[in-house]
């Protein structure tokens, strides 16, 4: 986790030449509102039974907000998508199709405050899961 924070800070503080390198993050609008909305419906049908309608989890079931972020920080989004696709729902793992799992992943991003964009999230992408929110615009517009 610490490594991820350090890495993010390094990138935020990196010279313009380094920042210009192509790099997608969960902050870049990697899903659409409509996709997350579909994902929310699917979540309520297949996931809420254990994780709760508000994603808060239970004593036994992990929450999908809050500590969810540090636990996935430093990975790439395809790892999360693969986990959702193969390990979940726990009682019938792998039973949902790629489109459904992508929509559920989009909903998880939305529920954790990551912004929507104009392009739907699909499988196989490499998008870094960064926990650090961008600094306020006036500061982030002036990287050092």
């Amino acid at each position: 986790m610490r490594r991820g924070i350090v890495l993010s800070l390094m990138i935020l503080a990196a010279p313009q030449s380094l920042q210009a390198q192509p790099r997608q993050s969960v902050w870049d609008g990697v899903y659409t509102e409509e996709q997350a909305s579909r994902g929310q419906t699917l979540f309520q049908q297949s996931c809420a039974r254990c994780h709760g309608a508000n994603l808060a989890g239970t004593f036994e079931t992990p929450p999908l907000v809050g500590r969810f972020i540090p636990y996935w920080e430093g990975t790439t989004l395809d790892v999360l998508f693969d986990y959702v696709s193969t390990a979940m729902p726990l009682d019938r793992p792998g039973s949902l199709g790629p489109s459904a799992n992508a929509a559920i992943t989009a909903f998880l991003l939305k529920a954790n405050g990551f912004p929507a964009g104009t392009k739907e999230f699909g499988s196989g992408k490499t998008i870094s899961f960064d926990a650090i929110r961008p600094k306020p615009q006036k500061k982030s517009a002036k990287p050092q």
Partner: protein, 420 residues
């Protein structure tokens, strides 16, 4: 509770003991008058007569907790292999099925011996269930500085959703898939665990204790109680090679017969329960709260550290500062390590409000109870070892626990002083 006092009461009633008179519900019976009672002639020796037993208050509304776990069953037996991930050496220690609490210290000893052969100063342990925690403490005792990386602390791991009895060969491997030498490995583990557990017996709070267990039946020994009509049938196995009966699961308990007492058949006049057939054994069990607290305290007292972290790919282990890693993820190994030999085996326990005066467990009509410091555990056993196989539904089935409580309630309702 003073067991000698109970025993004395029980013996005072010995001359008039009949069916069911062993329960404390009969404590109001006036003492016999007149000539001293004649010592009864019984097939059960005098010293083995059960003490007065307190009844379990078996009401569904006293179920204050229901826990569901997934046993980390591995068809080939626990994974104890060593592998390299980047520049890290990973010693696996997972897949102990329904035997984790029992085999933990022995399995930890094997893993730590492998780890110490690399002469590390620091060791990482992944996971803080009972296998991870005992591995960490064993590594400390071997001289290493230990950090546990885990996504949950012990009270929220699947370990503490277990039954918590000494069951060292409960769903530990399939006969068809266990390695040829696994029996030897298992015996070494079981004996090492037994010796280590023995050190915790008698400590304050009874982290580990012995208790009598009554096996009760309306049918002669060997005949199986019929299933209640509302017990759902087992699902049909969905793949070839799946076990279909208890005999498909490996059993090794014959190897350690010297460690535990045999069950005794209780003669009619020594049978405290209103059933025709009764046997009694004495079992070791774990009081999760006290034992878990003790182990965690021991880990911290020896300088251990815990880092809250989740892992998603084996390659992440190479990034840890410790280059010797003992891997104890439990069932999570199925998804994290893509271990196809891992099969979920669902188990559910209901917990009635603790009754310290109840100092025994019983098995009756496919229901198992065990009185512990943190509650009276009630567990449905129908379908034997096949129950819950390949079932990873971790949501609570309250009807199952309530049915089990009703079965026990019916048993106690047979006592003559109970109008039900």
């Amino acid at each position: 509770m003073d067991r000698r006092h109970l025993l004395k009461n029980s013996l005072a009633l010995g001359g008039v003991m009949g069916l069911g008179n062993g329960l404390s519900g009969c404590a109001a019976t006036p003492p016999p008058t007149g000539p001293a009672p004649v010592k009864p002639s019984s097939a059960t020796p005098w010293m083995d007569r059960p003490p007065l037993l307190a009844p379990v208050r078996a009401h569904a509304d006293r179920l204050f907790d229901i826990k569901v776990c997934i046993r980390p069953f591995r068809t080939k037996g626990p994974n104890l292999d060593v592998e390299r991930i980047g520049d890290a050496t990973v010693i696996h220690n997972y897949g102990h099925g329904g035997s984790g609490w029992s085999l933990s210290w022995g399995s930890a000893d094997m893993a730590v011996q492998k780890a110490m052969s690399f002469s590390p100063r620091k060791i990482a342990v992944i996971g803080c269930g009972i296998i991870g925690l005992t591995s960490a403490i064993t590594a400390q005792r071997a001289g290493a500085q230990v950090t546990i990386y885990t996504r949950e602390l012990l009270p929220r791991t699947r370990s503490v959703r277990a039954n918590g009895s000494w069951t060292p060969d409960s769903r530990i491997a399939l006969v068809s898939e266990a390695p040829a030498n696994f029996g030897d490995t298992w015996e070494q583990m079981a004996r090492m665990s037994w010796k280590t557990l023995r050190q915790y017996i008698g400590m304050a709070g009874n982290p580990i204790a012995f208790t009598d267990h009554y096996y009760l039946s309306d049918l002669p020994q060997g005949e199986t109680a019929p299933l209640d009509p509302d017990v759902p049938p087992l699902p049909t196995p969905s793949w070839s090679g799946a076990p279909t009966q208890d005999a498909d699961f490996a059993r090794y308990d014959d190897r350690i017969r010297d460690l535990t007492p045999r069950t005794q058949i209780l003669a009619d006049d020594a049978n405290p329960f209103p059933v025709k057939y009764a046997r009694r054994g004495t079992d070791l069990f774990f009081n999760f709260s006290e034992y878990g607290h003790l182990l965690t305290s021991q880990f911290f007292a020896a300088g251990g550290k815990i880092v809250m972290r989740d892992f998603h790919a084996p390659s992440e282990l190479a990034d840890l500062p410790e280059k010797v890693v003992i891997n104890c993820p439990g069932f999570a190994a199925r998804d994290w390590w893509k271990d196809k030999a891992m099969v979920p085996v669902r188990g559910q326990t209901g917990w009635l409000i603790p009754q310290p005066e109840v100092q025994y467990g019983l098995t009756y009509r496919n229901v198992n109870t065990l009185s512990k410091s943190d509650g009276i555990m009630v567990m449905a056993l129908e379908h034997g070892d096949m129950k819950g196989y390949n079932n990873s539904d971790e949501t609570v089935n309250r009807a199952e626990s309530e049915r089990a409580v009703r079965t026990i309630a019916e048993l106690y309702s047979r006592f003559p002083n109970n109008p039900a």
